[in-house]
Assembly symmetry: C2
Homo-oligomer: 143 residues x 2
DNA sequence: TCCTTATTGAAAATCTTTTTCAATAAGGAT
DNA sequence: ATCCTTATTGAAAAAGATTTTCAATAAGGA
């Protein structure tokens, strides 16, 4: 089921701005600020209100098509996300993000923590920062 | 080395507002909004500017005495943090937070992810939500 | 007690996100 | 292809969060 149907199914509409915002996110494998999304849309010929960007991101998050990324500073980026449980690792050089699931390790880790803390864990936020393979090569060149 | 020395060492001063904010954070084992910190300070007899709260939190984070907690919605809480590497698990019933380190499991997990993704991991953000032991008991009573 | 200057608070600026509401445009029905 | 209903948009304003400015204040070493 594509996004068109997913929306209509709930009485929602696949509008021009929604398509454009999806395209912007699809064409960029990295977390973008709402403001940046608006700019990119504008550069590709579509003037979209920033208000609409916020509203659309909220919707796309509900539809599990987009996730919020927490920046070091405090600002929030938004990135396209494939379905299913996974997390993001973001390159601190080029900004690109990669999904991973590391299901095994995470389940074990959470089990261990539940035993240690006696908490019942309901949800987790895991986000990694690092250097992607490409940027590692470049760093080598500099030396 | 206590906070007094830690500050003086860098030419910084242990002021009234800084002490009060530390006390507020110490007396509450849960993430607080800057605004809430100001209120608590006021309730305990110290009028502190919200500006000072922000500035002090920034400082305390640099000194590694405080950490930022990412709320589900987007607002940020601040919580006292003991030295060393660890993470927080927050009770979604009562708000209380507990530190854990789960060092073993995390190291293994990160190693696995480095192998899988070929990224060089530099830092990670891990934050758990759940129900604390106390609140689990209360839930049982309701049944 | 005095001096230097780091720090504070009030106000304003800046930035982010949400709300309002009239105009617009999806998309199902005719 | 045209009409209708109403979900959606955009402009403006409101609300909320965080930062900057700058004169007055207070740490803390001399
Ligand atoms: Mn997970
Ligand atoms: Mn955040
Ligand atoms: Zn990279
Ligand atoms: Zn609890």
């Amino acid at each position: 089921m594509d996004i068109q149907q997913k929306l209509n199914q709930q009485g929602l509409r696949l509008t021009q701005p929604r398509q454009v915002i999806m395209e912007v996110l699809e064409s960029t494998g990295m977390p973008l600020l709402p403001q940046t999304i608006q700019q990119r849309a504008h550069e590709s010929g579509s003037k979209i209100s920033l208000v609409t960007v916020y509203r659309t991101l909220e919707l796309l998050i509900e539809l599990k098509l987009v996730r919020r990324i927490h920046g070091q500073d405090g600002c929030h980026g938004y990135i396209l996300s494939s379905p299913g449980h996974h997390h993001h690792i973001i390159c601190q050089k080029c900004g690109r993000a990669l999904e991973f699931n590391g299901a095994d390790g995470i389940v074990k880790l959470l089990d261990q923590i539940e035993r240690d803390t006696k908490f019942k864990i309901e949800s987790h936020l895991l986000q990694l920062q690092g250097v992607c393979p490409d940027c590692q090569k470049e760093k080598d060149h500099e030396k």
